[in-house]
Amino acid sequence: MTLPDPVALAVPAFIVLVIAEVVIARLRNSASYELRDTTASLLMGLGNFAQGLATAGLLYLVTAWVWQFRLFDIGYTWWAFLAIFLAEDLCYYWFHRLSHEHRIWWAAHVNHHSSQHYNLSTALRQTWTGNLALTWVVWLPLALIGFPPVLIIFEKGVSLIYQFWIHTEQVRRMPRWFEAVFNTPSHHRVHHATNPRYLDRNYAGILIIWDKLFGTFVPEDDAEACRYGIVKNLGTFNPLRIAFHEWAGIVHDVRAAGNWRERLGYVFGPPGWKPDGSGATSEAIRAAWRARASTAGVPSPTRIL
């Protein structure tokens, strides 16, 4: 059976919707788009498209190879589409969570979070190195269960398209029932925020239920606006630096490491990890935030030189 490539079909809609959001943001006097930031995001998207073309065949072959050993013959029945919808979304949740919790995959994913803006162009700021980092292994169990490789690839495309529209500040809230079940702009704004209370939360792809199930859900608080970006925001719009800066950071840290424990920590530990425990990991940032919340600080004077 052949299925359409949903992403290729959606490209014209992506273009039209981004332009519509630019116009709406302008009419609302919202500083949602900045030229160099948008250009960087779009070039990252183009690079992702190119690397996808280069690696798609190999990924299909690996998935098809695993499928030989499938436990069940699922085929393309109606319930297979329903089952792959749930199963692929669960895989996405874990891929996404692991990409935030381990630096080797964070290095591939960080570029998606590197914009300090949050708009539809941010959705296109996609990885250049995810396939090289083997992040696709998370989906291989689907082939082993028996989902046809074509169906898995189709559903991954559906998920990517769904996640495009949630990268916006122009939609505040969806109806309550929708917010309860699906990933929405509100939930995903939280995911892109660096506020300690929001950091590394809401990993969902399409269904927010996984975050609620696994304890990583945080609702958006209207009293605390999201501040977008990463803990160490970039000082560049250069796509090459955006794509590879964290990989370079890993190499730098591993070369400076004194022993194998440190080397492994720098590669597989959480982003920000340091051997002496002083690193600004998400948990450390959140713990410091909680500690500050329980004690009132007294500001001290500053001299201007």
């Binding site: 273009i15 998207g45 501040r227 925001n233 800066h245 001299r303 030189l305």
Partner: protein
């Protein structure tokens, strides 16, 4: 795959960039005063206590020394956003004065070279020496007191 599959994304990118530019998307953030610095630090790094502080003449960057720890905050405009880097020993590969500019070279490829246009040759030299002692050689007492004396 048809040629349209390649042409469409490229044409779409060009069109979006044009529309963003027409919508006034080319903007720059400004760091006008110490209050702006304090406000940004309080939001993103509330544990940072700015001691000595220097604003760039072009209002596109600023520098602050933590009064409690051996580290500095470098604030700089990136497009229409103010970006903050907390720089600790090991992060700074070099600090040099080039005329009235203070050029910081970080070990991080994500913000490798930051130029602060101080517009003051002496201040640039003093800050370069101060940061070298504080973050590279580790011989400067924390808090930036000697910088205050030297610049004053």
């Amino acid at each position: 795959m048809s040629p349209l599959d390649l042409i469409l994304p490229v044409a779409g990118i060009a069109l979006i960039i044009l529309v963003v530019w027409l919508a006034g998307g080319l903007r720059s953030a400004s760091i006008d005063d110490a209050e702006t610095v304090r406000r940004h630090l309080a939001l993103d790094h509330p544990e940072f206590e700015p001691g000595d502080l220097r604003l760039a003449a072009d209002k596109r960057s600023a520098l602050a020394i933590d009064r409690g720890k051996r580290r500095i905050a470098v604030l700089f405009a990136l497009g229409d956003r103010v970006t903050i880097r907390i720089v600790v020993p090991g992060d700074l590969a070099g600090a040099a004065a080039h005329g009235g500019d203070l050029v910081l070279t970080l070990t991080d490829l994500g913000a490798h070279r930051i130029v602060l246009r101080l517009g003051d040759v002496v201040a640039a030299q003093v800050w370069a020496a101060q940061l070298d002692r504080l973050l590279i050689q580790g011989t400067e007492p924390q808090g930036g007191r000697s910088a205050a004396v030297l610049v004053a």
